[in-house]
């Protein structure tokens, strides 16, 4: 029999049981919708993480002070204070492809201006920092290499700090007291918003590292060294050169652990997105379970339908339907249900993901791939769960089927 006529037969049968058809498809609608929405939200979260990592700057290598193990005692990054200003100078001088280096010290402390005070993070950096982080200024001018050399008492502040300390006043040129040392505010940063970890990146005071070490943090060691290379292809080579250089400078013998950690941006990104990948996978898996449940719903209804329509099948066989025609009819019914469910599910899933994205300020990213996959899976669910009932119908004996009450 012709495929067109079989479709005709199957659609007529589905139309005859509109309510049941809709309810059966509902299982798939919810399943596919859930998969699309969950994966969309998971992917959105991942893309946000990636954006945040990218906002660190491009082609960045971060060297952190502190060994993973030092005489059996592990200190954590930055804790051991093994990085010296000279190490940064050496990297600047000797490592190929390096375009910018920023020595970094970090502290948290109380800052004040006028009668306002505020607890914030202090970053000591080089003048290259704003280029490395690709962090433009909202207003004013950054501190210069000269300021760094002279350890001038100047600073650049984030939006949050500006609002908290200076209120509605313009902070430019104003004095900000950090540990009672007066710093002149030379610029305000553009807002960057919350980081992936939920830290307000605009709650910050950035000053020359020399000033920070001398007047705020104390000590002579650096927490991190941020290095930028010209091209992504140079990251690996540069990273290896930095490791070799620092091991040599720190007199670390072969076989001993590094007393510093070097990570490039890609590794940081991978670590961060691994978490969101797990989340996406988990959400997708839970949603996938509901898709399977929807499929079982289809099988259940199709089995009931085959039993209920035994006489109909007998009649069809009596007037000339072959087993194959019956099989195709029931298979098309099942696939139609699951495909229509799949399409509606995709629409509802996208709508749900967008709604969540808007109301929860959470990104949602629906990839064409996930739409295609969801549709393919729903069609497969139809074939898989529709085949058994369809075969059962096709194998009926026409005489028995006609006699069935």
């Amino acid at each position: 029999m012709r495929v067109g006529a079989t479709f005709n037969v199957a659609f007529r049968a589905l139309r005859r049981n509109k309510m049941r058809s809709v309810l059966t498809a509902l299982g798939i609608i919810i399943g596919v919708g859930a998969v699309i929405a969950m994966v969309g939200i998971g992917n959105g979260a991942k893309s946000q993480v990636e954006q945040q990592i990218a906002s660190l700057g491009q082609n960045i290598i971060i060297i952190s002070s502190g060994s993973t193990t030092s005489s059996g005692i592990r200190t954590g990054w930055g804790g051991a204070g093994t990085l010296k200003i000279e190490d940064a100078e050496a990297i600047r001088r000797e490592v190929a492809g390096v375009t910018a280096v920023s020595e970094e010290v970090i502290s948290t402390t109380q800052v004040a201006a006028g009668n306002q005070n505020w607890f914030t993070r202090i970053y000591g950096e080089s003048a290259d920092y704003f280029d490395i982080r690709q962090w433009p200024l909202a207003d004013g001018a950054p501190f210069t290499a000269q300021d760094v050399r002279s350890a001038n008492k100047v600073c650049v502040i984030g939006q949050t700090t500006a609002t908290q300390v200076f209120g509605n006043e313009n902070p430019l040129g104003q004095i900000l007291r950090v540990k009672n040392v007066p710093f002149t505010v030379t610029a305000i940063l553009n807002p960057k918003g919350l980081s992936v970890q939920g830290v307000d990146q605009d709650d910050i005071v950035i000053m020359p590292y020399s000033s920070a070490m001398k007047r705020v943090v104390g000590g002579t060691t650096l927490r991190n060294i941020n290095v930028q290379v010209a091209d992504a292809s140079q990251l690996g080579v540069a990273q290896q050169q930095i490791v070799d250089l620092l091991r040599q400078r720190h007199n670390i013998r072969a076989g001993r652990d590094d007393d510093f950690t070097v990570r490039n941006q890609q590794e940081i990104a991978d670590a961060a997105t691994a978490t969101t990948d797990v989340m996406t996978g988990l959400l997708g898996a839970i949603a996938g379970v509901s898709l399977v449940v929807g499929g079982i719903g289809i099988m259940n209804i199709m089995l009931v339908s085959v039993t209920e329509r035994t006489r109909e099948i007998g009649t069809r066989m009596a007037v000339g339907a072959r087993g194959r025609d019956i099989l195709t009819q029931f298979l098309i019914e099942a696939i139609s249900l699951s495909c229509v469910g799949g399409i509606l599910g995709i629409i509802i899933g996208i709508a749900a993901a967008k709604t969540i994205a808007i109301t929860r300020h959470w990104p949602a990213l629906i990839s064409p791939m996930s739409i295609f996959a969801a549709f393919a899976v729903s069609a497969l669910v139809g074939i898989f769960f529709g085949f058994y009932p369809a075969r059962k119908a096709a194998a009926l004996d026409p005489i028995e089927a006609l006699r069935y009450e």
Partner: protein
């Protein structure tokens, strides 16, 4: 070789195995039915008439013996080939009508065409279905569902469905079993009209009154043909209906 016999059975036997016992439902039936005949197959339950009907209807294969339908041996065809034979050469009318529920009369009648070899457009399907529906007197009821039709009307839809592929033989299994006597006569009169147009009709019934509308009666008992005779005092469906009408007029 068929000398006009549209159905020829040669020593047809049908044996069922139920558990350890063999049930010989049909034990050697030889029967010729010529084109244009109207045969009533009669017998008590268990006489083997239903089994023979299933064989005639190509729903079942004989255990042994040969069955020529329209000159072709169909006794050894497989399931799919039998389905094609049923579609092209046979039309079925059942006791319980066997119409698809929640489906219009027209769509019910179209059903055999959907499984036929010819590719027809929806308009052609509709046109052919409406024509046979009109032929059985159901003009204007094409869009009615079976639940909106009386028993007699439902059986007419079933007859229209049996006619649509212009079959060699119409097989009717107790076509009046679920109908009152007056509607039964109406249905028999339709069969007689079709028969007069040259269509071969084979009907199973256990009611002697109904069998008298046929031209020939074949009586079965214990799986064999016991009697085979031409009906002498035949009932005419149209005349009987007129009589009923006039008696009810007198009564009122």
């Amino acid at each position: 070789m068929n000398n006009g016999a549209v159905v020829r059975l040669i020593d047809v036997r049908k044996t069922y195995r139920t558990g350890d016992v063999d049930v010989h439902a049909v034990r050697g039936v030889s029967l010729d039915i010529a084109r244009g005949e109207f045969v009533a197959l009669m017998g008590a339950s268990g006489s083997g008439k239903s089994t023979l009907m299933n064989v005639l209807g190509c729903l079942d294969r004989p255990t042994s013996g040969q069955y020529f339908l329209d000159g072709n041996d169909v006794s050894s065809l497989d399931r799919d080939q039998l389905a094609d034979i049923r579609n092209r050469k046979l039309g079925f009318v059942f006791q319980n009508f066997n119409l698809l529920p929640r489906t219009t009369a027209r769509e019910n009648v179209e059903l055999p065409l959907l499984y036929g070899e010819n590719r027809l457009t929806n308009a052609q399907l509709r046109e052919r279905a409406d024509r046979v529906l009109a032929a059985v007197g159901l003009q204007g009821r094409e869009d009615h569902h079976p639940s909106q039709l009386s028993g007699g009307q439902q059986q007419r839809v079933a007859i229209a469905r049996a006619l649509i592929n212009e079959p060699e033989v119409i097989l009717a299994d107790e076509p009046t079993g679920n109908l009152d006597s007056r509607t039964s006569i109406e249905i028999m009169s339709i069969f007689q009209q079709l028969n007069e147009q040259g269509i071969t009709v084979v009907m199973v019934t256990h009611e002697p009154d109904i069998a008298r509308y046929a031209k020939r009666n074949v009586m079965m008992r214990d799986g064999v043909v016991r009697d085979d005779f031409t009906v002498t005092e035949r009932f005419e469906g149209t005349r009987e209906l007129e009589q009923i009408r006039s008696t009810s007029d007198e009564a009122s």
